[in-house]
């Protein structure tokens, strides 16, 4: 039985094409995919000038040849939007971007604005910028959220740098740890730190003193983009706004409710949400960031001074093997030195692998995870309505709370009122949330509702690279989710780490694969 191929009126009026960049072309090829988001939507309509929408422009920190790849992509964006370059690479004519959407402040969504800033800002006119309400400087709640996020973000990024430095230093430090283990690799989303005043001297002896004047580079990027765009708008859930190319954008998230924003995972254990605050650890971390000295009354568990034996005193003590009397001060120091610091015990057995200097830093892991989820939940979620009434869904990295909140309101334009369920039912193109991780696509109130027959999904990931991140490796995509999406799309799922010669027959000619991008013609 042959099915009628779709050559409908939609094709006659125009085409909507989504380009997912992956830039596999740079030399060396130490990678097989692209972990990060960069989507260019083109709306072609007969003789009218095409409309261009760019959604995010970043790659995960630590990706191989990140800068070359981002510059390659930037160049393509400028060219595609009508810009031209001279032979020496200088811009002759600027491209024109009708709309730039930045979903949230994570390195893998915005890094390009730093790595290729000359090309993207020099070669592109950004006519309009959309960000979530959480980035609005005039919104008190947003400012409060951002300050909180900033504080923790800087603290963790600083910790990440301190750990790295400690690992290189020959002297023992309580911060010598495996960064991937301690922070689960999540610092890669935060991006690097920069000096905030610019007057910062390059070298400083004390790590803490340095940190105080720093902030995340990601924040700089957000400010820079806001300044460069000709106009900007901060969107709130429930809004329906006109988008370039006669599209309509339905704003589904991020939610304005605190509990939704904090929700990153399905509740499963009792009192899950209150479990994460680790004040004793955070206190120390924040003091580190603020450059303050230890506050013994607050930071140390035991009040009496006599209980405190400083580590350097112990390390300096000699551990002569004669009998040690722990009734004397000197004896105590020597006892501790012999039992903890010396590499062997009295019989010469090796004890050096049994020290615990850095194990406590593992506590940063849950903290990093929570910050990561909190930021992901501020993702701007847009559903673009196409001329035929179907939708393209771009949820950024929205996590559970954000997804659930889409159902908290209805969406009204001049003539209709749609529910989130109705919108999801008409989604024909789905940008899979957060590179396919398990808590960024929900089942019952999410994927299960995407019932459109032609549903196609795109995953911006590099599964092999993800597996090398963190101590356990990330699952991008999560295997259960991968199967669920393959089932929902009847196999029409394409990924950044597909091989160049991947078989795209289920897409019937509408998918174009190059080593720079994957391009899908939606209608």
């Amino acid at each position: 039985m042959t099915r009628q191929k779709k050559v409908g009126p939609a094709n006659a009026t125009g085409q909507i094409i989504v380009r997912m960049y992956r830039a596999l072309g740079a030399q060396g090829r130490e990678y097989a995919g692209y972990l990060g988001d960069c989507f260019l939507i083109r709306v072609l309509d007969g003789d009218k000038p095409p409309a261009h929408i760019l959604i995010d422009f970043g790659i995960l920190m630590g990706s191989a040849q990140a800068e070359e790849r981002m510059r390659q992509i930037a160049t393509d964006i400028v060219k595609t939007t009508g810009g031209t370059f001279a032979a020496d690479g200088s811009v002759v004519k600027k491209g024109s971007l009708d709309l730039l959407v930045i979903t949230h402040e994570h390195w893998d969504h915005i890094s390009g604005f730093s790595q290729a800033q000359d090309i993207i800002f020099g070669g592109l006119t950004i006519n309009k910028l959309w960000m979530a309400w959480t980035e609005d400087d005039n919104d008190d709640f947003a400012n409060q959220l951002r300050q909180d996020r900033d504080k923790r973000g800087v603290a963790l990024a600083a910790l990440s740098e301190i750990i790295q430095r400690a690992a290189e230093s020959p002297t023992p430090s309580p911060f010598a740890a495996d960064r991937q283990v301690a922070l689960s690799g999540l610092d890669a989303f935060l991006g690097p730190l920069v000096a905030s005043s610019g007057a910062e001297p390059a070298s400083s002896a004390l790590a803490a003193a340095q940190v105080k004047a720093k902030r995340l580079k990601g924040r700089d990027i957000m400010e820079k983009v806001k300044a460069e765009a000709l106009s900007k708008e901060f969107l709130s859930p429930g809004q329906v706004v006109a988008a370039p190319g006669t599209l309509k954008a339905f704003v589904l998230g991020p939610p304005r409710k605190w509990d939704r924003l904090k929700k990153d995972k399905p509740s499963s254990g009792p009192a899950k949400e209150t479990y994460l605050d680790n004040r004793a650890f955070e206190d120390i971390l924040f003091r580190l960031v603020d450059g303050e000295p230890h506050d013994p009354d607050n930071d140390l568990p035991f009040a009496s001074r006599s209980h405190r034996i400083r580590t350097d005193q112990v390390r300096a003590a000699d551990n002569a093997s004669s009998a040690i009397d722990v009734c004397t001060d000197n004896g105590v120091l020597r006892w501790l030195n012999e039992h903890y610091c010396s590499g062997t015990d009295r019989d010469g057995r090796d004890q050096s692998r049994r020290t615990i200097d850095s194990d406590w830093l593992g506590a940063a892991g849950p903290l990093a995870l929570q910050l990561d989820s909190d930021t992901n939940n501020t993702s701007l979620v847009l559903a673009f309505e196409l001329p035929d009434g179907t939708f393209m869904l771009f949820p950024g990295d929205a996590q559970v709370g954000n997804w659930l909140s889409w159902h908290d309101q209805n969406y009204k334009d001049e003539t209709r009122e749609l529910s989130a369920t109705q919108i999801l039912g008409r989604v024909r193109f789905y940008k899979v949330g957060h590179h396919g991780s398990d808590n960024a696509t929900i089942k019952e109130k999410g994927l299960d509702l995407m019932t459109h027959r032609e549903l196609v999904a795109a995953i911006s990931t590099d599964e092999a690279f993800g597996k090398q991140q963190g101590a356990k490796g990330w699952q991008m995509p999560n295997p259960l989710l991968k199967e669920a999406i393959l089932a929902a799309t009847k196999g029409r799922t394409f990924r950044n780490d597909d091989a160049l010669n991947a078989d795209y027959t289920p897409f019937k000619q509408s998918l174009n694969s190059t080593d720079l991008y994957l391009e899908y013609t939606v209608i």
């Binding site: 995972k265 004793a280 206190d283 400083r310 501790l336 057995r349 615990i356 696509t441």
Partner: protein, 694 residues
């Protein structure tokens, strides 16, 4: 002059060393209801002649407490429990503000847990070795002392670190700050947490491969078992049990101190009660609208017990089913044992009396203590009856039933039925058994029908096997030698003229392990039969008797060189333990067994096609590291009374179905959670397990 010495009166060593501890944790001391019972004393046997003396730390033969607090950049001075003032008052009084008391308590609780295991196992507890130590150093197979860091972490966590053979306890600020009893919470002051972590370490020492996660049950079992030990130990604190039973009118099914774990920790982490309750999953299942997989959410954050074992993947939650099953069995046994007491008491009391008489409570507490002790011993003994790798809950039930049958042939109190029923109620199944009747759950005796070749060595295969095996047994050393001192002091110079039995035992085990390894490695006429019996590959690569291709097991060059100077290649395998257990049953029955555990590894690949290629010997794949190691192995039981090989509990290394199941588990097909591919993930399996719970 010699007469004068006799004038000094000799005071014999006291039998017990008494150490003060919290019965539960510091929180129970500030609550009126429980304060009276929270200060208690743990009695540990005084160090025997053949043990090292207790040193400051405390440090003894088993443990070394070293109090380093890296997050504060501080050390705390060690407590000397032999100081006269401390001896006179049973150690330091309970106090949160004194790190030395923390050292004392963590030591006392860990030692008590160790002694409980030794009693049940009938042998000394030994710690796992250092896998990273170089060959031939003594620490590679055994670590002399388990390290304890009472303040090693600054978070809501405590864990056993297999790579350091150390327990790390965390402390943190109470989220409610000054309004609560105290502003800091120390996990090393919770009996339950200390017992739990110590059990992890003991279990790892018994089965070095048990920390590898090869199926959903393996780490869950570790967690569940540690919880069970912590729970059952509650019942040895008689005055506490008495107090609690009086309050609950003799019932053990109401949530309370006895069947809850880590109350203060639970409160401090935002729970209404204990961290976990033994019977958490016992109540009627709450139905919810089919929300299960992926990231589906219930917004209210209410406690919704998982409905089924088959839908639960997180290790603690999954372990909860096993804990509930065993605790339920214990409560059933307790109820069975006390039913007559209740009937007797009822006939003599006024109908409206709503409290139990003190005498009845005493008797109930005694019965609860006895039942808990028996159940604890059943659970611990069963460890010797589990396969060395890839354990499932159902197999643990078989182990419990078999171990108990070995020691107590008849079952007058129906303990085994109580266990089977409790497991069945939790949906823990035993694949491959025709029914859940206790007798069909017994591990099978070796099936010799497939290996008739043993008949050559005796009248029938069974006798033949015994004859073949006796050759090995004859060479083994079955007890420590009581000869001149120097013979046993090879493994420890600290003895100083005394005999340290623990180290002598290590020497015997290591020697036997070596002999057993040699014996199986040596080419013999029965290698083919042994391969079938133990489910491992033993025939040399070039052996003409080999029919099946070798499933890419790493090799060992060995044997004698042939005329060309080539050594034959033999599959590599490990003998993990060769331990002798002497156990006494309740009626004075005794068993005396040799327990041998052997394992073998095989290259495993995430891609089934790679697997096929590698199994066929593809050199490219064999050159690189495999995606994972797939292990098989066998636990062999020998009755030392007559030298008969009574049982082989095996996991075949050639079992491709099991391999496929492990692959699915690894790649997350079952749970949606893949196991990390990076090596560092395996360094601290318990740290991640505990943290990921948050």
């Amino acid at each position: 002059m010699t007469d004068i010495q006799q004038l000094v009166p000799r005071v014999p060593k006291p039998p017990m060393r008494r150490l003060r501890v919290y019965a539960f944790d510091p929180q129970s001391s500030v609550e009126l209801k429980t304060a009276v019972i929270n200060d208690t004393v743990i009695e540990l046997p005084w160090e025997t002649r053949w043990e090292d003396q207790l040193e400051p730390g405390p440090i003894n033969d088993y443990l070394e407490v070293i109090d380093y607090d890296p997050s504060s950049d501080l050390f705390y001075a060690p407590v000397d429990l032999n100081a006269p003032f401390l001896l006179a008052q049973d150690g330091l009084p309970p106090s949160e503000g004194c790190p030395q008391f923390h050292q004392q308590m963590v030591f006392a609780v860990a030692m008590r847990t160790i002694r409980n295991f030794e009693r049940a196992l009938g042998r000394v507890v030994l710690w796992a070795g250092d896998r990273n130590a170089s060959q031939d150093t003594p620490d590679r197979s055994f670590t002399r002392r388990l390290r304890i860091y009472p303040h090693g972490l600054r978070e809501k966590n405590a864990y056993y670190s297999p790579s350091k053979r150390a327990l790390l306890f965390g402390y943190f600020k109470h989220p409610e700050g000054d309004t609560a009893s105290s502003s800091w919470v120390f996990t090393c002051l919770s009996q339950d947490i200390v017992a739990h972590e110590t059990t992890h370490a003991i279990l790892h020492g018994m089965q070095q491969r048990s920390i590898e996660s090869s199926n959903l049950d393996s780490l869950a079992f570790h967690e569940a078992f540690a919880d069970i030990i912590a729970l059952l130990q509650h019942f040895s604190l008689t005055n506490v049990v008495r107090h609690q039973l009086a309050q609950s009118k003799g019932s053990l099914r109401e949530p309370g101190l006895l069947n809850g774990l880590a109350l203060q920790f639970g409160h401090a982490t935002g729970r209404r009660g204990a961290l976990r309750y033994a019977l958490q999953y016992l109540g009627a299942p709450v139905k919810s609208a089919g929300a299960t997989s992926l990231a589906d959410a219930k917004c209210d954050g209410e406690i919704k017990p998982p409905k089924k074992l088959s839908e639960t993947f997180e290790a603690h939650a999954r372990g909860g089913f096993l804990v509930a099953a065993i605790f339920d069995a214990f409560v059933t046994i307790y109820e069975h044992r006390t039913a007559d007491l209740f009937r007797l008491a009822r006939s003599s009391t006024a109908p409206d009396q709503d409290y139990l008489s003190a005498e009845l409570v005493d008797r109930l507490a005694a019965e609860a203590g006895r039942a808990a002790d028996q159940v604890l011993r059943m659970c611990v003994r069963a460890l010797d009856y589990t396969p060395p790798v890839d354990l499932h809950f159902g197999e643990y039930l078989r182990a419990i039933i078999t171990a108990d049958t070995d020691l107590v042939t008849n079952d007058p109190m129906r303990y085994r039925i109580a266990f089977v029923e409790a497991f069945r109620k939790r949906g823990i199944t035993v694949p491959g058994c025709i029914s859940m009747a206790p007798d069909s759950l017994l591990w099978d005796e070796p099936d010799l029908s497939e290996t008739p070749e043993f008949g050559v060595a005796g009248g029938n295969p069974e006798e033949g096997l015994s004859n073949v095996f006796s050759e090995l047994l004859a060479s083994l050393k079955l007890s420590i030698s009581l000869g001149p001192m120097h013979a046993s002091s090879v493994h420890g110079a600290s003895g100083g003229g005394r005999r340290n039995l623990r180290e002598a035992a290590v020497g015997v085990i290591q020697r036997n392990q070596l002999l057993i390894h040699e014996w199986f490695k040596e080419d013999s006429a029965f290698d083919e039969g042994w391969e079938k019996l133990v489910g491992m590959r033993l025939l040399a690569f070039d052996d003409p008797r080999r029919k099946a291709p070798l499933t890419n097991v790493p090799t060992l060059w060995t044997g004698k060189a042939n005329e060309n100077g080539e050594y034959s290649k033999v599959p590599k395998f490990e003998v993990h333990s060769a331990r002798i257990a002497r156990r006494a049953g309740p009626e004075g029955q005794e068993t005396h067994q040799l327990i041998i555990q052997m394992t073998q590894k095989r290259r495993g690949y995430d891609d089934p096609i790679d697997q096929e290629k590698a199994d066929a010997g593809n050199p490219d794949l064999l050159a690189r590291d495999p995606d994972f190691w797939f292990r098989g192995g066998a636990t062999i039981h020998i009755d030392l009374r007559d030298g008969k090989l009574i049982r082989i509990i095996r996991k075949n290394v050639c079992d491709d179905k099991r391999l496929a199941a492990q692959r699915d588990f690894r790649t997350g097909k079952i749970s949606g959670q893949a196991i990390g591919s990076r090596a560092s993930a395996n360094l601290e399996p318990f740290a991640f397990l505990h943290r990921s719970q948050e």
